[in-house]
Amino acid sequence: MNSNITHDLAVPLNQEDKAKRAFVTALRVHVLQHMSGSMKNRYEDYVKPEAQKRGNTCDTPEHIHKALKSDFMFKAYSSARTCAQEMVFDVVSDSVDREFETLRAKAKPVAKKGSLTLDDSVEIPKSVSEIDVHLAPGSYHAEYTEEDFATGAVYDNAIEVFSFGQFGKDSNDIGMTLSNYVRLKFPDFKPAKILDAGCTIGHNTLPWAQTFPEAEVTAIDVAAPVLRYGHARAESMGVPVHFRQMDATAMKFEDNTFDVVFSSMFLHELPLKDIHAYLKEAYRVLKPGGLLWQMELPPMNQMPAYDNFYLNWDTYYNNEPFYGTFRRQDYRKLLTDAGFGAEEFMEATMPRYTFVGEEAYKEALSGENTFDTLTGRMDPKGTRWYGFGAWKK
């Protein structure tokens, strides 16, 4: 297995790392494709008709969950998927631990293009500090040594194994997909200042600096170790991004600062009250005429019940406690509650830019939004990203 990580902080992989990463990748593909397929067949052929006989209509994800919970195939899928998730972090932690000192030298670059501003008065929200989010030991913020960056290094390596390459080279496909969406969809819009909220290691921030080279790009997160790593990673790639430790629900920026405020896979990890607080802040720091955009999981109201059940597995079993509540929201209302006009609401499903290429991407953007089993989910057959946003008038 060859790594898709191309920057200087890539962990040197020995044969054992490569072999184990290849195994865990293969295991995840097996679980998500083969076992999940068997679970669905079992549901359609046996579990659903049996449940309906007992009066369970199976028309909501909760009903489906209830019907499937006691079935062997669900247990096998869930147990194996949990193991595969844990093993992702295990195998990459082995190599990060081993190479820690080598990485340490590279993790403190002389800032040339961007910057790193940490602020230890930032309180880590309980939604990050109290749980090991998606079973990552140490969540995002844990530090085991002075000026630690290990959670960042683990994250960078883990998402590559986790996504079996579906996030593209340097795991930047969501950022490439969205920034190019904005460029192609709104050709007259020339953002000068761009903000990424909840950036983690900035893998989806960097594409903005590449797509809009004239713009100044800022990325915030509450967790210092991922920011340290993200900054070093960006510098090593020669991409100018300003990383700042800041709570997105209480930003330190002036009103009307940014032309674009976006986030990627951020809202679903926030408690609902923090989603509201962040969106209000996003509205405040956006200039009039500025664009808000969130790349996210598709809303429940657009998806068939079984797909909702399937996507919501994470909220029940993968330490993503806020994910289900988020997906139940009316996304338009989330934005109008924060001050955006209801008529300004936009949503889109997008093919992966770095996989399909500019021409096919352009063509897809003129088509209709499509919601199906490939929307917003990690599937070996491919995936389509979902996002929603609004202009601030």
């Binding site: 044969q15 949990t82 193991c83 093993m87 631990d97 030991p137 140490g138 844990a142 290990a150 959670t151």
Partner: protein, 108 residues
């Protein structure tokens, strides 16, 4: 050196009713990862030797390990057992880390 904890905080989800089944599956999959990595390595080793014109099967059978080599294999074996049995082990990583840290402090 182990610095990053391998166990997450909180209760692990159990899906099977019978005690130990989820943990056994975990052990089995971890074991499979070890075996798979090992097979990859032996495969590569054979290819490397073949490249150098060596057919090693007979020599492998005849080989006698030295005490030092035995010790090295024993340590590997131990690590493998710990990995495979991770879910059956109550000792938390936090404790491990405290031990590690106090050792580091004492040495400094």
């Amino acid at each position: 050196m182990r610095r990053i904890p391998r166990k997450r905080r909180g209760e692990r989800n159990r899906f099977f009713q019978a005690e130990g089944v989820d943990e056994l599956l975990s052990a089995l999959l971890r074991l499979s990862a070890e075996v798979s990595a090992l097979k990859d390595r032996v495969y590569i080793a054979e290819k490397v030797l073949e490249q150098q014109g060596l057919n090693v099967s007979d020599a492998i059978e005849a080989y006698e390990l030295s005490a030092e080599q035995e010790a090295e294999l024993a340590a590997n074996r131990q690590r493998m057992i710990e990995t495979v049995l991770a879910q059956f082990d109550n000792s938390s990583d936090v404790d491990d880390m405290t031990d590690e840290n106090s050792k580091i402090e004492a040495a400094a």
